[in-house]
């Protein structure tokens, strides 16, 4: 409707209220007035600047340190060789298996968490009946978002070592082994779930009610409205939630160490091509970094730096993706009020 006649376009312009002032438009006293402030105020003012700059410096130091170390130890051959047990760093292979492991676990975790998270968020925001049940589900999700990942990991071990779940890993002497990529991925989904739920709900709460009402007025049912109108409208929120969850999954070490076996080389279990890998054990980049640090067994810190660098690049890429996804919606608004629902929680 770009070609509307000018009279209809005039009306909102006349009724428009003066724009609410944003941060930038607030008239502030001129900066020179700092000299008239009491000493303590000036001190605090200086301290604020110092903290801000120090924060920048620390971040810069971390990034530069990791990039310098990472790039200086990174070799193309590291990407195509599997880890090999060796005392010498030159012979201990590369991190092909950990990269594959990271991708597998991230894929399983996301595939489970994304639909579940969106469904939970829709139920909580759009239905939420009975209210006490919604409150209980809400606090349960809050609870897992606060639970340490190592606790989730050992809970997973407890569940998956039950005999009837041995199809997820492999049967053992009593019950089942309880560690495989599938097990790790399922618990990782639990880790990503709160982020996806929070992001989707934030998106749903921003959809104006008149969009729902318009859909009902056209005779659509609630279910159709959700599927056809709401979920389409909040696609960027869902996507950013999923990417944030992905970042959490990629960065987690405890769950992989406990639930994916702890061996650096991926070991398939069985003969079925893909399923055997999923049911088998292995490692991810995070456990590779841990095992190759002095805290682990390998103590090959060049490899650890290189793998950590790859990990950091992945996180940076995911960060850029989130910025892009959320940025399209909120390019003009204040980032500070937007970034919180997106990646905290």
């Amino acid at each position: 409707m770009s070609g509307a006649d000018p009279t209809t376009e005039q009306i909102p312009a006349q009724n428009e209220l003066p724009a609410t002032p944003t941060m930038a438009e607030i008239v502030r006293p001129p900066r020179s007035s700092t000299s008239t402030w009491p000493l303590i105020d000036r001190l605090c003012y200086g301290l604020c600047w110092a903290t801000g700059i120090a924060l920048c410096m620390i971040a810069l130091a971390i990034v530069v340190f990791m990039f310098v170390k990472g790039i200086s130890y990174l070799r193309p051959s590291l990407f195509i060789h599997s880890p090999a047990p060796s005392l010498h760093q030159s012979q201990s292979g590369g991190f092909l298996d950990p990269i594959v492991g990271t991708l597998i676990i991230a894929a399983i975790g996301t595939l489970i968490a994304a639909p579940t998270g969106v469904a939970l968020a829709v139920w909580l925001s759009e239905y939420g009946r009975p209210a006490w049940l919604a409150r209980a589900v809400e606090s349960a999700i809050e609870m897992i978002s606060g639970a340490p990942s190592i606790v989730l990991a050992i809970f997973g071990l407890l569940i998956f070592s039950q005999g009837f779940l041995s199809f997820l890993s492999q049967p053992a002497a009593e019950g089942s082994l309880g560690s495989s990529f599938l097990c790790a991925g399922i618990i990782m989904a639990l880790l990503a779930l709160p982020l996806i739920v929070a992001s989707t709900r934030a998106g749903l709460s921003q959809v104006p009610d008149h969009m729902r009402e318009a859909s009902y007025a056209l005779g659509k049912t609630k279910a159709t409205t959700i599927r056809r109108v709401l979920l389409r409208a909040i696609r960027p929120s869902v996507a950013s939630g999923v990417v944030l969850g992905l970042g959490r999954i990629i960065g987690d070490t405890a769950i992989v160490t406990v639930l994916a076996g702890g061996n650096l080389i991926n070991q398939a279990n069985g003969n079925v091509p893909i399923l055997s890998t999923l049911r088998g054990t292995g490692s991810s980049l995070t456990t590779y970094v841990y095992e190759n640090s002095p805290a682990g067994e390998g103590n090959a810190h060049q490899k650890a730096y290189a793998a950590a660098f790859v990990l950091l690049v992945m996180v940076l890429a995911l960060n850029a993706l989130v910025t892009r996804l959320t940025g399209e919606r909120t390019a003009r608004s204040n980032w500070l009020s937007r970034m919180r629902p997106a990646w905290i929680r």
């Binding site: 607030i26 007035s33 402030w37 000036r42 003012y45 301290l47 600047w49 903290t51 801000g52 924060l55 920048c56 620390i58 810069l60 990791m66 579940t116 939970l120 139920w123 239905y127 049940l133 919604a134 209980a136 589900v137 606090s139 349960a140 809050e142 609870m143 978002s145 606060g146 639970a147 340490p148 990942s149 190592i150 606790v151 050992i154 809970f155 407890l158 569940i159 609630k222 279910a223 990629i250 960065g251 070490t253 406990v258 970094v289 841990y290 640090s293 805290a295 650890a304 730096y305 950091l312 996180v315 940076l316 960060n319 910025t323 204040n334 500070l336 009020s337 970034m339 990646w343 905290i344």
Partner: protein
């Protein structure tokens, strides 16, 4: 064809499918709820033997935790004690120390940084700081641990701990740079970005007219921030601290790498040496001992530690919820 009849029928059918959708989604929600409930119950059931054998003394001090864990691993009870004999105080003390010190440090830094970000920073600086904070929050903890163990720990060991100091506590512990200071510093760097984000968000959503009113009365900018903005955002500051505490409490990998991994209750009476004594927080202990989790007594003890962490996390998330309530009065989301 009359319009009303098919419409009516169609509406009935639609309502049916609508009900089905609600029911399916609700069932999924209940399933997740049951899973999480199951988690709480199984962890507590599994933890029970350790608590019941030790009673409340589980939380107390006595003996060396590392020896007790080793005895359990080797299934040879310590002389005069049950196989379940376990005194977690030094682990709990380590958790408390690292968490509280890091949260206090981070609180001071993040309030300052958030004020800087929302009030003083020129636009270009703000544009740089935003992705920086996001990045710091996204770095995996194992990378922080790696930096700590390969860069910070050796530096502290060489430059800050003198040989005389090492000698003074030689009989009790070895000081090697993996210690309370390293753990606290890195933990601070890890939790600060989260706190900055929350506090800055709350500061940015303080109604501008409130501050304008203050400035119009001739109050200077810092006083306005201190008296109006920070006071309004106080619940958000509490909420940020709570969230950061939960994060610090649950941090396992980084602390397992840099905190020293020695079940030693660092003693504040040791003066400066206290800062260089190793600690062993609960989450890190769970992580380090998780290899032996199939073994009976050890596994019960590990799940007991997990239960303690779960209860603390639940209490913290409740505290966070309670802290956020006053903000809603002003229509500020936090």
């Amino acid at each position: 064809m009359p319009v009303g009849v098919p419409n009516h029928r169609r509406r009935l059918r639609r309502t049916g499918s609508d009900k089905r959708a609600e029911f399916t989604l609700g069932a999924l929600a209940v399933a997740v709820l049951v899973l999480i409930g199951l988690m709480l119950i199984t962890v507590f059931v599994k933890a029970w033997p350790s608590f019941s054998h030790n009673g409340l003394a589980w939380f107390g001090s006595g003996g060396d935790v590392d020896t007790q864990l080793r005895a359990m691993n080797e299934v040879t009870p310590l002389p005069g004690h049950s196989i379940y004999y376990f005194r977690a105080w030094s682990l709990i003390w380590g958790t408390l120390l690292t968490t509280i010190l890091a949260v206090l440090l981070a609180l001071a830094i993040s309030v300052m940084a958030a004020v800087f970000l929302t009030e003083f920073a020129p636009a270009p600086v703000r544009r740089v700081l935003e992705p920086v904070i996001r990045l710091l929050a996204g770095v995996p903890s194992v990378v922080y641990g790696l930096i700590g163990i390969l860069a910070l720990t050796p530096w502290i060991n060489q430059h800050l701990i003198s040989n005389a100091r090492k000698k003074s506590v030689d009989l009790l512990v070895q000081l090697n740079g993996a210690d309370l200071t390293t753990a606290t510093l890195i933990l601070t760097v890890m939790i600060t970005p989260i706190m900055v984000a929350i506090i800055a968000g709350a500061l940015a959503s303080v109604p501008p007219s409130w501050r304008e009113g203050s400035v119009a009365l001739g109050v200077n900018r810092w006083r306005t921030i201190y008296r109006i903005s920070l006071r309004t955002a106080r619940p958000a500051i509490v909420a940020a601290a709570v969230l950061a505490t939960a994060r610090a409490l649950g941090e396992a990998i980084m602390l397992a790498m840099v905190a020293g991994g020695r079940g030693f209750a660092a003693n504040p009476l040791d003066g400066i040496t206290f800062l260089f004594e190793p600690v062993r927080p609960l989450a890190a202990t769970i992580f380090q001992e998780s290899g032996a989790i199939t073994n009976g007594p050890v596994s019960h003890t590990i799940y007991a530690m997990a239960a303690v962490l779960l209860v603390s996390a639940a209490m913290l998330s409740f505290a966070g919820w309670a802290a956020k309530q006053p903000l809603k009065r002003y229509g500020i989301r936090a």
